[in-house]
């Protein structure tokens, strides 16, 4: 019997949102970190730490939301290593970020050994929103999800609002564009940078935890599979603006969901080739984004990657 095309589309798109949410959290986090002038290449590491801590907590306590929170917090704590090196010690942010990624993979490999091949009994439960989920087509895609997905919707709106409508947003943008000017105007550059780097870590941890608590409720080494790197690329695609992050994350999610669906339906295309597709898409997106950024003269935050010191002579 041929499945109904409409039903399949709905399933695919709902999976797209789920899969995209894993990335949406870290992208938004990194947008804010980079807006403050700190480049954190440690997302992959923070995500996988969040993934393991989230998984382990859920496995041991059975408290799924508590596990999500712990995963998020673990990512945040990991980001403080990077913050300390790049803000306080004014070290090289690229090296520090790469080290954090390698550290994350290594440490989860070690502590994750006892969880390998274990599975969670329960994943994050679905919460159907009455009313909204009745909207034809969009309802079942967007509003038959879980609290974490709804949280990500709200996050996009709130972060956009913070960025462009509030005092904190102006301080953040000023620090990332001209730290010296911000400092002269009495903004505490270090504080702003620590805060948003920590926020970036929390979000990366959240993305990781969402992965192991919902999409892939088991533990494997390197389970994040490079999603952290994809997130960094998609920050450029999003042009440091939260609403565009949504598009980037869902595009990646769509291809991911599609290739998954194809694999499960049993096509003749080799699975490795299919699994590659989301990453290939990332490449294309980054080319498009770079061209767009160039054509529209939308700059990278000018202070990105540059340590700030006041008394430099």
């Amino acid at each position: 019997m041929r499945p109904d095309a409409y039903a399949i589309t709905i399933i695919l798109l709902a999976a797209t949102v789920e899969s995209g949410t894993i990335l949406l959290f870290p992208i938004i986090g990194e947008i804010f970190t980079e807006r403050s002038g700190i480049l954190n290449l440690g997302i992959e590491g923070m995500m996988i730490i969040g993934a393991l801590v989230g998984f382990a907590t859920a496995f041991m306590t059975g408290q799924i939301y508590w596990a999500f929170f712990m995963g998020m917090l673990a990512g945040g704590l990991a980001s403080l290593i990077h913050a300390f090196i790049s803000i306080t010690l004014r070290g090289n942010q690229v090296v520090s970020g790469l080290a954090l990624s390698i550290f994350g993979l290594g440490v989860t490999n070690f502590y994750g050994q006892e969880f390998v091949n274990l599975q969670l009994a329960h994943t994050i439960p679905q919460v159907i929103i009455p009313g909204l989920s009745q909207i034809p087509f969009f309802g079942p895609i967007l509003f038959k999800q879980d609290y974490m997905v709804y949280l990500s919707y709200i996050l996009v709106i709130i972060t956009w609002f913070i960025l462009f409508k509030t005092k904190a947003g102006i301080q953040l943008r000023a620090v990332g564009q001209n730290a010296q000017a911000a400092d002269a105007m009495g903004v505490n550059v270090y504080k702003v940078r620590y805060f948003w780097t920590f926020f970036g870590g929390l979000m990366a941890g959240a993305g990781g935890a969402y992965l192991t608590l919902n999409c892939a409720p088991f533990w494997l080494d390197g389970i994040t599979a490079g999603r952290g790197w994809v997130a960094i690329a998609l920050v450029i695609f999003a042009r440091w603006n939260p609403p565009y992050a949504l598009i980037g994350a869902y595009l990646f999610g769509a291809i991911n969901a599609l290739q998954f669906q194809l694999q499960s339906m049993g096509t003749t295309i080799p699975s490795a080739l299919l699994s590659m597709q989301p990453y290939f898409l990332t490449f294309i997106l980054i080319i498009v984004a770079t061209l767009l950024v160039k054509a529209k003269h939308i700059g990278v935050p000018k202070e990105l990657g540059i340590p700030y010191a006041r008394e430099e002579k």
């Binding site: 409508k165 509030t166 005092k167 904190a168 102006i170 301080q171 943008r173 000023a174 564009q177 001209n178 010296q180 000017a181 911000a182 400092d183 002269a184 105007m185 009495g186 903004v187 003269h297 700059g299 006041r310 008394e311 002579k313």
Partner: protein
Amino acid sequence: MGAIVLQVKNISKHFPGVLANDHINFDLRKGEIHTLLGENGAGKTTLMNILDGIYYPDEGEIYLNGKKVDIRSPFEATKNGIGMIHQHFMLVDTLTVLENVVLGLESQGFYLNKKKIAERIKEISQNYNLNINPYAKIWQLSVGEQQRVEIIKTLFRGAKILIMDEPTAVLTPQEADTLFKILRRMIKEDKSIIFISHKLDEVMKISDRITVLRKGKLVGTVDKKEIKQKELAKMMVGREVLFRLDRNPIRRKGEVLKIEDLETHNDKGIIILRGINFSLPGGEIFGLAGVSGNGQTELAEVIVGLRRAIAGKVYIKGEEVTNLCPKAITKEGTNYIPPDRLKVGLVPNLSTVENAILRRYDREPISRGIFLNYEEAAKYTRELIKQFNIMVPRENAPVKFLSGGNLQKLILAREIREEPALLIAVHPSRGLDVGATEFVRKKLLEERDQGVAILLISEDLEELLMISDRIGVIYEGKIVGMVDIDDANINEIGLMMAGVHKNPLLKGEENVKV
């Protein structure tokens, strides 16, 4: 004159290897404009950065209205009613005027009520004739307007003491006059202003009192009414100063440089040169005046091959060199003194010797096959050092440790020794002290007398008037005027720099399209 509002006692500040401020005393009265005068490196900016809380003094005390204060950050300076306008504006150019004004203000809530803030800005702006649209983005404003945003920023914060660090350096003479009017209006409202400058004529024009610093030390404080410009110059430099340089009558030779309808982009991909035409004979210094950002540095870069022309032609000695590579253009006899000494002119981490041979490392006798002959290189470098009187403590140490004047002399020596037919000099004396400035200008005049064609690009009108034979004015990528030095009038040039006066005063074959 009012009571003393600010007093600085025995302030000292060290930087590695330099004593920037050596026991400085200074006071400021209510409703006065007090100028801080001194050469580059005299310690003026350091002292003001201390008042603004950017630096913390090693020694000394600051009193505000008789009370001792401890200013540890710009934020605390603001709280104490001190506002500083830096030489490089502290503005975030992707943000709007309004956003820049409220940046760092504690009194604002989490959500910004833009309407209310805009009204305050308009109020201040009307009160002092500042005329600024609060919703404009900073990058869309002219330099003069950006400066007014800085003033609004300090007034918005309720500053009573305003520090302005060389505010006229980036302005045309007319814009400077507007600024002076604003400043006079401000002291009438009982504000006090510290004005930092090294330009004597404007200091005489605007100040009530003048404090002179030299090499980090206090020379003295004088009342403007009781001192003459010449005495002031002597206080500042420590010796008599030449206000004029002697120069020989001009002997023009054949045409060396010819530019036709030249157009190019700037780094952002926006058209910055819109059809430049002029020609330059040997033996002449052609000075190009203009407010920065009107295409003058890009023009120099196109001529020497560092930037692609998108239209038009460049001829050197009759041969077309448009868009050739820099090396080929150098071969045609063009040499270049770039605006940024350590970014373009020299390689900071290479030694003096290695920098000195950059034009001839690939020629005999310094090059020998694939090897370098370091003995020859050192010999050549010593020649340059002697001939140009460059102070080099160790010729194998990285060049970045030399002072600005010596760096510039090294570049000048390296370029002039190539015996060019055409020399492009961009801001050759920017940031140099009086002695080095004189040296550079004299060398350029010497080269002119040797028959070299010199294109001098400078924002310093005094310099242009002092050594050019002809002055052109560039505005928004076009040459809007050209005058012979004997007919040059500083007011007229100023108006053309501001784009007001668009009637080109042209002579000879130059055909300027406006």
